[in-house]
Subunit: 424 residues, 2 copies
Amino acid sequence: MTISAGDFVEYAKLMDAVDPLSIFHDRFAHDDSGLIYLDGNSLGRMPRATATIVDDLVERQWAERLVRSWNEGWFDLPLRVGAKIARLIGAQDNEVIIADSTSVNLFKLAAAALRAQPGRTGIITDDLQFPSDLYILQGVSDFMNRSHTIEIIPSADGIHGPVEAIMAALSDDVALLCLSHTAFKSAYTYDLTAVTAAAHRAGALTLWDLSHSAGSTLVDLGAAHADLAVGCTYKYMNGGPGAPAYLYVRRDLQKSLSQPISGWMGHGDLFAFEPDYVPADGMRRFLSGTPSVLSLAAIESGVDLLLEAGMERIRAKSLLQTEYLVALWEQLLEPLGFRLNSPRNPNLRGSHISLGHAEAWRIDQALIHQMNVLPDFRRPDTIRLGIAPVYNRFSDVLYAAHALEQIVRESLFVRYSAVTTGVT
Amino acid sequence: MTISAGDFVEYAKLMDAVDPLSIFHDRFAHDDSGLIYLDGNSLGRMPRATATIVDDLVERQWAERLVRSWNEGWFDLPLRVGAKIARLIGAQDNEVIIADSTSVNLFKLAAAALRAQPGRTGIITDDLQFPSDLYILQGVSDFMNRSHTIEIIPSADGIHGPVEAIMAALSDDVALLCLSHTAFKSAYTYDLTAVTAAAHRAGALTLWDLSHSAGSTLVDLGAAHADLAVGCTYKYMNGGPGAPAYLYVRRDLQKSLSQPISGWMGHGDLFAFEPDYVPADGMRRFLSGTPSVLSLAAIESGVDLLLEAGMERIRAKSLLQTEYLVALWEQLLEPLGFRLNSPRNPNLRGSHISLGHAEAWRIDQALIHQMNVLPDFRRPDTIRLGIAPVYNRFSDVLYAAHALEQIVRESLFVRYSAVTTGVT
């Protein structure tokens, strides 16, 4: 069936008009250039309320209240805002805490999980995993005297997760299965419940990286009985550049796990200043040093917006928007050499769509500099179009697809160098 | 010799009048309450310029430039601002980088140092060390299969560093000597050069925590040929609450050290997204995950102010101010039961003065709530008076000493509970 150009336009108009989340668009800052921003999977837009929070933090909490602010709210931030994130990912409010970066938290939880299972030596992951997560697993293993083997299960097509091969690899020697819930490149999304259950049947613990799913995709750690998870707050949670990450440990596991970066913020009695480390009860034991308060406090309003919008509505809109983009790709872009590097099945997909093209780098440059559309680029040949349902409109999706079509049809990309010089 | 009350007042007036650093007082934010802030050793005051930096970061760099800001400056922040900190601590500009928290950085460097010396099993520290540093050393050792012994050399008087006992303990089995340059409680300050040389004679590496010295005390890592150091930026550097910390690795050691939290920010080719970790050349290899940009960018103006003021002038003023406080203590406070819990010799001391008193907790509460003086309290019985020469006046010191005198002389503290309920 051929959909006419007019139909695509009408669809976007209609969907934007009836979108129950449309009110959230203006809760975020937008400049006057008309930028079409499709990189919320890398750095989310700034919630307007965040500027007020940051201003109060700097001008009153720091400048006036000074060190007293620690007792007036700063000490509570990691657990208090963590409890809000818990509601976005199906966790309980004493199962999530904010700390450090995703990489550091992954290190802590991977090390804790491996130490809790001294008789098992296997770590399983896949090659869709964000490379930093692979590096961290290597670092943990090296640090623990190279006592573990890391098996990176390859995806058959570079798009879909190797579910069956993972299931087959889950022997009784496996200590840890560590995967990205949604893959950073293809957006392939694992079935949390099924994969966690398979790991549990083999007696292994699961450690999920939620960075590319939480905030745009339904995550229910509780229903999945997931063991451990980490995630970042600066993508779909709109927490600000490099905002601290969160970590989740299922409540019944918290007591039996100890993490290696045992700094004072994780001590049971912060100001006793005893010479020996005694981990705090509950999630505080997963803290290490003093948190970056400015960046940490700035997270809250982005999380509040997602809670207000509701993850079910966000996911519903994400499905409609990514399906719309796939339809546009099929009609307009596939004939121009674009490949769909994301799963076709929306149930296996997060909220971004990856398109491959032999001229992807130059097209990406034209998209940014001539069309004022900001996606991101992943070497060697992938353009990622991230859709953040809480602020992206159907018309944004349409505009981007038309821009890609025009760039290739009119060869607008040829003026850019084919040499990949950096990130988007 | 008895100094008259009038002499003390005249001295403060005179010294404030001729103070070459007095112009910096108003470069920091002050509220209208007349607060006397003597806790810059815990959280420094806010430089006025910081508010402008943060506002630009949020409203323009994040809100408008969005992900493009990574290429427009954010990626450079850790090394660029690190190079400025290097000038405050006698390091070269390719020897310092900003990352994570002090505890996380200590973990990374301790692990790297131990791994580089597989034949040595000893770690030496002292009991003046900030407890978090002890916890981190324990954590590192535990995860390296408890293969190391940690010897905590006790201070004879709880005030002075056990220099001779440390020298004696430096056997050829010692891998690492880890000390706070300036002790968090007593302000005792080690001779960087002499102690580092002793460690080197034994073939051990040194890891200094500069958190309580850098920014108020002269630190010359280059002259001392120091190996490794970490430090925080939120105390005397005025970088903001929980601002990211820095780490130093002497240039010739950088290549031979690898740290375990091997996240993507430390990879040699950030966006190649190769499956294997290949550490970057130079200091970047000590990065782990994505930095908290808001908190990181906020550091710069505080560092700039110290560079403008000059560390020699800051140290000279610190010496005069702490000596003044000691003289006030001797004349006014010692007769009232206050003990000097810092070294009497100014050359062995950083920029805070610790006073012990049987009623320290209640006196601390009276100081805050009746006198509008903010020090900090350390259990069980110590009041720390931190002097930040870049904004503290001689008259602040005088006021605090008079307030302490009045509180005890007039028993103003008795209305407060003797139960220690928290921090200052």
